[in-house]
């Protein structure tokens, strides 16, 4: 099975964790040393007990010593020997119960008891022959320092049969504590030997020699090592499976996402469909959902751009058609009056196209403008009064403008030019739909939730219910036929919407009370810009 890059990394991390138990092999060396020290302490303890029991008796008698040994014997697990001042063995626990002491005192004096391999318990051998153990031991040996050099003790502990002549014995017989470690050839186990002098009166009556093989300790360590090796093997297997599983749950869905995201772009870099969100609840699922949302929005955007281009083409074709027709007729017609008429049509349509093109440029730039323009607190009371005054002059009495302002000054953080654009477009729209003599009502108020609300109401024909959802769409025009319609490319309300939403507000449209239409702009009121009544109204 081929692992992905993430899969490989996971495997490496998992294996690193697995190798931690291997460090345990190293630790076992320290453990071994501690065990040996503990063993020596217990041996010395046992020797002291015996030495204390035998001290003060003067010259040691073999039979007497054997009696004492026999009494102690049951509580001992090391081999105890008592020697006289010459080093001759007076008593030996291994002779009392040979079988039992073979085990404890591996390095016995006689060749029969010295053969540890033969004396090893049967259970230890398979542990060492175990393949797993050997593999573990091989790894451990690579890192294991060389075994501490043992003291060059004479290979034969006893100079002659029945006589001990080790350096520890000599030390004990000269009144000191003596110890020696002996390596048995071909074996990893060592024999620890301690000698404690037996005092009698002012002199030394002999020595107690305690010896014990480290074999039992090693055997325990073998078992531990084997255990570690087993754990290691199982862990490696577990790490492998875990890595494969993790790779499957992490890198496979990621790879699927990657393939999908590569597939939704066609050769020309156009989006084709969206990434399907995965049903997973984890982070990868979140990623997939985020990508789905991203591609969905991109697709909307792309579709918007495409329909925008086609809308623009459509909108420009109408004035172009009029211009072309008028130009052709201008070419064919001789009457000056008719010619003037067609020139008028051409000029009118050119002006319309010009307005369309500049509004198109406007609407595509709004987002960038909103971002870059400096925003100040604009008091709406003053702004609306100014705009209404301009419209009164423009309409020169054809349409009336009725303003209703609150006591307080409501301000909005925005660029003043953009806000002017919003309300000019709304009033322009309202005036355009108003029959002669009608009123356009503009009201400003604070909504209960603190927003500044501007309502523009006209007495025009209103908006058919089926057109309400599209009224703010680009190029949508609900305009009746008439001269004013020529100058409205249907972008005014789209621009209103883009600006107001850019400032975090909202726009809505509804049918009016009688006929007419109501447009409502809600903008977040600026906190710093709310002045009490009577305060300066800014550029009003």
């Amino acid at each position: 099975m081929r692992l992905s890059r993430i899969g490989r990394r996971l495997l490496v991390f998992n294996l690193l964790l697995v190798f931690l138990p291997v460090a345990g092999f190293l630790y076992l060396d320290i453990y071994e040393k501690q065990l040996l020290e503990a063993q020596e302490r217990s041996m010395v303890q046992q020797g002291r007990v015996l030495s204390a029991a035998l001290s003060g008796r003067g010259v040691l008698e073999g039979g007497e010593v054997e009696q004492v040994l026999r009494r102690l014997n049951r509580r001992l697990d090391a081999r105890l020997r008592v020697v006289d001042t010459e080093g001759l063995v007076l008593a030996d626990t291994s002779r009392l119960r040979p079988k039992e002491y073979d085990r404890a005192g591996g390095a016995g004096p006689s060749p029969a008891t010295a053969g540890q391999a033969a004396a090893s318990p049967a259970s230890a051998a398979p542990a060492r022959r175990n393949l797993l153990y050997r593999a573990g031991a091989f790894l451990a040996d690579l890192t294991r320092r060389a075994p501490p050099p043992s003291e060059p003790a004479p290979s034969a502990e006893e100079a002659a049969a029945g006589k001990l002549d080790g350096k520890e014995v000599r030390a004990a017989l000269s009144g000191r504590y003596g110890r020696a470690t002996r390596v048995s050839p071909g074996q990893r186990s060592v024999t620890l030997s301690s000698a404690i002098p037996i005092e009698s009166g002012g002199g030394i009556a002999g020595a107690v020699v305690v010896s014990q093989s480290s074999y039992r300790i090693l055997q325990d360590l073998y078992a531990v090592r084997l255990r570690i090796a087993e754990i290691f093997a199982v862990s490696v297997l577990a790490a492998l499976l875990l890595s494969v599983f993790l790779a499957a749950t992490i890198s496979r869905p990621l790879a699927a996402l990657r393939e999908e995201s590569a597939a939704i772009l066609d050769r020309r870099g156009r989006l084709r469909g969206t990434i399907r969100g995965l049903a997973r609840k984890d982070e990868i699922g979140d990623l997939a959902r985020a990508l789905e949302e991203l591609t969905r929005r991109l697709e909307d955007r792309q579709r918007g751009a495409e329909t925008f281009a086609s809308d623009v083409a459509h909108e420009l074709k109408n004035p172009l058609a009029s211009i072309r027709s008028a130009a052709e007729l201008l070419h064919d017609v001789r009457e000056p009056e008719e010619r003037r008429r067609f020139v008028g049509i051409i000029q009118e349509e050119v002006a319309r196209m010009e307005r369309q093109v500049s509004q198109l440029a406007e609407i595509t730039r709004i987002d960038a403008r909103l971002e870059n323009e400096e925003q100040v607190a604009v008091p709406l009371n003053g702004l609306l009064a100014q705009i209404a005054e301009r419209f009164r002059m423009r309409e020169s009495g054809r349409v009336g403008f009725d303003l209703r302002m609150p006591e307080e000054i409501l301000a909005v953080r925005a660029a003043p030019e953009r806000l002017t654009q919003v309300f000019e477009n709304l009033l322009d729209n309202a005036a355009g739909f108003s029959p002669d003599g009608a009123q356009v009502r503009v009201a400003l108020e604070r909504s209960p939730d603190g927003a500044a609300v501007v309502r523009v109401e006209d007495e025009g024909p209103g908006i058919p219910a089926e057109n309400l959802p599209r009224i703010f769409d680009r190029f949508f025009s609900n305009r009746p036929e008439g001269k004013a319609a020529r100058l409205h490319p249907g972008l005014g309300l789209a621009i209103v919407k883009a600006i107001v939403e850019g400032y975090g507000g909202s726009v809505g449209a509804a049918g009016g009370r009688n006929r007419g239409a109501i447009f409502e702009v809600r903008l977040p009121a600026s906190r710093t810009g709310v002045f009490p009544a009577g305060a300066p109204t800014g550029p009003g």
């Binding site: 083409a313 058609a321 009029s322 007729l329 017609v333 049509i345």
Partner: protein, 259 residues
Amino acid sequence: MAELWRAVVSDRAACLIFHRMQSRTELVAVVDDEKNIRETVAFALKREGYRVNTYADGAEAWAAFKRELPDLAVLDILLPRMDGRELCRRLRAKSEALPIVFLTSRDEELDRVLGLELGADDYLCKPFSMRELVARVKVLFRRAALAADPSRREESKMLRAGALEIDGLRYTARWRGEPLALTVTEFLLLQALARHPGHVKTRQQLMEEAYPHDAYVSERTIDSHVKRLRRKFETRDRAFAGIDTVHGLGYRWTEDDPR
């Protein structure tokens, strides 16, 4: 021969025939929400001697049509209050023969109009040539007049190419004896192709033949007309393969009918 056909197709020849046939008192209805388009179209048609009524939206036009049907209707597709397709459907329900020309500023709309088999007789894309529109109106009146008067059959200038029969006077075509419902544009294209079987006609040549008065037609428009033309044959004859696409060049009428 080709020159003769071209002369027949050209509006000057058509004018002569019409002046002989009847005086121009036909009523043309122009429905478009663009005031200047209405005005210029009305002016151009009046100059040709037609009576013209203009309407700014579909509902207004329909209200007038209920009182008096025009002899020909020029409709914009996107109209306020009642859209051009609905108006066309209603007109068709009243009169099978009434020629209808669509004006459109969106190519997609064209496909929808023709896909719905509303039975438009022709269509022009904005910005259209006024001369082209006037020529089409004349052709449609002639086609309608000849269709209404079968006794004039002997004057037909017939063109045969295999199982295809083209009547260059009536602007009608038959495939295996069955009439094909072609728009004027489609008819002109088919005629240009079938006149020289086996010869490749480039898109540019086809454009000149199908739109003799309009130099600004895109080559893509020709492709979509040919596509529709093939579809109309296929509704009569599933195995139709009379129009070959010659890759990179244009189209040709295949000389021999395989059957």
